[in-house]
């Protein structure tokens, strides 16, 4: 699993990928026209920026930050005040540059706090970010004038003269602004990975000690990476402000928010550049859609995170890349059957366990609605022993069958990887 070969793509391939990305940003709102879809797409747009900026720390620099919401949040607050001042006519800041104002704010605070946090790496770094996160969250309650107290700070995005005919009143126009920033920020952050500083950040992640002996101050490398991540985090925060027209400290600066960025960046995949993009999409799907479907959504999320950390620490992106590699060597066909069986047994397991969870939740929270609940089209009764027994049996059979297939699949997977390694060695020797 560790042997993901370095993927090389020519300039043409890269152009095609960026073209597809831009096309996707344009086409998606045309395909999904409902207002819910548009809201979700807007959120995905700025969360892509935020998760990618977080991955500059986690994936590229090996810095496990528990306080990224500080920089998105401060970006959001400075943006909201900039918008309100501009509305009053105190400062000439049109809405289209507000994200940049947020970015500069994020950068400023990253430069300020990062000086302390990046002095250390590893566990100490993680602890300091946690501390600063709590510190800023606590401070926000002490300055209600700036942070708006419990109610937060509201604003109106439709101030000033229209920009190229856009007033940014309708959601679709806001989406356009977000999509444009999303595209440019993604291109810039990708470009960063190909610069000397970007590469040295990887080197610091892999082996900070050695970096010191090839002329680089690791602290300074981490610090600069941190400040750049803060800039893009601030842009994301400002776009969120424009989207919602309100910022609240208890939400925007909270450690729960920071934890969310960490969790979904990891789920998407921190080892590949595009992983956090998947993570951002999942974050919106989970918090908007899954939370509608079930009250227990955070529990499912926790389970998925747990399984991912244990079985696929490279996230979804690494699962995709590993299978692409298998496909490149023409061996995917041998695994497809296994995937089908895994999906079947996994589905059964999920069905049993989810039914149990839903029944327990129903008992605890929806007792007043009667003992019957509908789960994926099946009537379950929390007062009937048959329902409980049935779901437990389904869950147990599911787990058993899944484990059985998973072990065999692991063997087969190992075989295929071994063959690929051998093929690569043969190619090198030739």
């Amino acid at each position: 699993m560790a042997s993901t070969a370095v993927v090389k793509s020519g300039p043409l391939g890269r152009l095609v990928v960026w073209g597809l990305f831009a096309a996707l940003l344009v086409v998606l709102p045309l395909l999904f026209r409902s207002s819910l879809a548009l809201t979700m797409l807007s959120q995905m747009g700025y969360l892509v920026i935020i998760c990618l900026s977080y991955n500059i720390l986690l994936g590229q620099g090996g810095m496990l930050s528990f306080g990224h919401a500080v920089y998105t949040g401060m970006g959001a607050f400075i943006a909201v005040h900039a918008m309100n001042l501009a509305t009053k006519g105190s400062i000439p800041v049109p809405l289209v540059v507000v994200p940049l104002v947020g970015g500069l704010a994020g950068m400023f605070f990253a430069a300020l706090f990062g000086y302390v946090t990046t002095k250390k790496s590893g566990t100490t770094f993680a602890m300091i970010t946690l501390g600063i996160g709590e510190l800023v969250a606590a401070m926000s309650l002490m300055f209600p004038g700036f942070f708006g107290g419990e109610g937060g700070v509201t604003t109106n995005r439709t101030y000033g003269a229209p920009f190229l005919g856009l007033t940014f009143g309708p959601q679709i126009q806001v989406y356009c602004l977000i999509a444009a920033y999303c595209f440019v920020s993604t291109v810039l952050m990708y470009a960063f990975t190909g610069t000397p500083l970007g590469r040295m950040l990887n080197a610091v992640r892999d082996n900070p000690e050695r970096v010191e002996f090839i002329g680089y101050n690791t602290q300074w490398v981490r610090y600069l990476g941190f400040v750049i991540a803060g800039f893009f985090a601030g842009i994301g925060g400002a776009l969120a402000t424009i989207n919602f027209e309100i910022v609240g400290a208890s939400d925007s600066l909270s450690s729960v928010r920071s934890g969310g960025y960490l969790l979904f960046t990891f789920l998407g995949g921190a080892t590949f550049f595009f992983g956090p993009i998947i993570g951002a999409v999942l974050l919106v799907l989970a918090s908007v859609l899954l939370s509608e479907v079930t009250k227990a959504w955070l529990l499912y999320l926790g389970l998925v995170f747990l399984l991912m950390v244990m079985y696929a620490p490279g996230g979804i992106a690494s699962l995709i890349m590993m299978n692409l590699r298998v496909a490149k060597f023409g061996k995917l066909g041998r695994l497809l059957g296994w995937y089908a069986v895994l999906a079947l047994t996994g589905g059964l397991t999920f069905f049993g366990i989810a039914a149990l969870i839903e029944m327990i939740y129903h008992m605890q929270l929806n007792e007043a609605l009667g003992p019957v609940l509908s789960f994926l089209g099946i009537e379950l009764n929390v007062k009937s022993a048959a329902s409980w027994l049935g779901t437990v049996v389904v869950a147990l059979i599911g787990v058993g069958l899944f484990e059985l297939t998973r072990k065999r699949f692991a063997l087969r997977w190992g075989e295929v990887q071994g063959e690929i390694e051998a093929a690569i060695r043969a190619r090198e020797a030739a």
Partner: protein
Amino acid sequence: MSTAAPCAVELKALRKSFGKTEIIRGADLAVAAGERVAIIGPNGAGKSTLFNLISGRFGPTSGEILLNGQRIDGLKPYEISRMGLARSFQISNIFGRLSVFENLRCGVLWSMGYKYAFWKFLAGLDDANRRAEELLHMIKLDRKHDVLAMNLTYAEQRALEIGITIAGGANVVLLDEPTAGMSKSETSRFIELIREVTVGKTLLTVEHDMGVVFGLADKIAVLVYGEVIAFDVPEAVRANPKVQEAYLGSVLADAQAAEAGH
């Protein structure tokens, strides 16, 4: 030592204690530019500590370290590195998740003045890329260009370790047991490689293998209990009664066996 040309590396009454334990007790050494010096000594004599002091991993308790006549004791490793001193490690110390080429390019970047640049693309740094390719060829890993460093064999990782060390073009090179853990045939090939890539440089190496010592070094420094008790050409060191006293036994016997084998 003459005042005209400063020594490449000079140690003056160098001391280092860890807690109450004094590891280096007043070591003196003056290595002229271009010399190849092997540092030998029994286990626990402080050889690795000496390297860690010179390269800035630790600061000395007292005494002076001079690089080309300038004080470097107490400086940070990266400051010493920028002044033209590079070191390798006993345990391979490479960038595991970067390709072999990227490892070498990282070693090159600072010396070519690219520093912390984030407004230039690596792909466009022709001089750095050319230098990294040259290094790749020098350490004979051309075929491993895109292989992740952690997937290399042990001997290949040792070669990459040397490659990263010399990448920045330092004039003074410290190699800490470069052939540790290698087989006999690998060792002799590797010594050849080290000789090739360090031509014209001042070389200090810690070595246990006496064959390597006699094959590589112009002069030998003998470190015993944190002091340099002898520093001379190999023949003189072997004839030195103090060395014989300290070394009576295994190492000297090894040395003679190696000599006989030549």
